[in-house]
Symmetry: C2
Subunit: 138 residues, 2 copies
DNA sequence: TAACATTTTGCAACATTGTTGCAATTGTAT
DNA sequence: ATACAATTGCAACAATGTTGCAAAATGTTA
């Protein structure tokens, strides 16, 4: 597991630091989206707030994680799949937010439906957020 | 116009105050989503920040406006259609964010596509955010 | 491994955004 | 017009996010 995390960093040409390893590990361990606050809370080591912000930003820039728009406008981040590269995200998948437990999941295997857009508009990216109740909360 | 705004407040059983009239007017005048910051900026009168927050919250509670999740996690609000009532929003429509001008529009006439959700999950609400270039920026 | 250059971290200070309690003001109904 | 209820604005605070800079950690080269 640790090796996988190290590999991701290497592959993105990032130097291997404790903060990056630990934070990236949190994402691989918890199979759900994490907020900045989550990371500060669940991490054993107490990182400086600034470090967490900068690490998350670096990961987003490198295509390691992506940010998720949520209904309550808290910033959530989740691991990208292999198709994401630096400067170009392919996170056209459905995000599911459970209203019970509050967890946010990426539903990678669900296809984004085609959205019809009025004439004269062009589409760059489509985000689909589904609120509901997840399997474990049912 | 002013009457229409007054009517909306009356219909929602809200007392008619200057702040509510002015803020609601901003929404009816500008045919796009507004952020808290927008409202403070474009309003002639300088409302207290707290008043704006509370007014927006009241409008959301009463089903007059709805909040829109955005990719950069800034909070946007837009007028609801008549189908929205207190405590129950029907804002299942597509939101379009122009990457050029930054404006956010409700595409009320575009149907929300059906999203397939894994077994064991149930759906309450679906939000669709489309990023792209709008008609006027093309 | 040691020394150096580069990057990252943590601190401090600050800016922005959002919240709460309370007194003063405004709106509504009688 | 008066009285009651609701709303507003102020002050103080809490949370969230940003920037510059010195110290520490990392990567590289010899």
């Amino acid at each position: 597991m640790k090796e996988a995390v190290t590999d991701i960093l290497k592959h993105s040409q990032l130097s291997i630091t404790e903060s990056r390893l630990k934070i990236l590990e949190l994402f691989t361990k918890h199979n759900k989206a994490l907020s900045h606050a989550d990371i500060e809370k669940i991490s054993s080591k107490n990182f400086d707030r600034v470090t967490v912000y900068r690490t998350l930003q670096t990961f987003v820039d490198k295509g390691i994680i992506h940010s998720i728009p949520t209904a309550d406008n808290s910033v959530m981040y989740a691991l990208c799949k292999e198709t994401c590269t630096e400067g170009h995200h392919h996170d056209d998948h459905v995000h599911f937010i459970c209203d019970e437990c509050g967890n946010t999941y990426c539903l990678d295997n669900i296809d984004i439906p085609k959205v019809t857009i009025p004439k004269g508009f062009s589409t760059h990216q489509v985000n689909v957020l589904v609120n509901g109740v997840c399997k474990s909360c049912k």
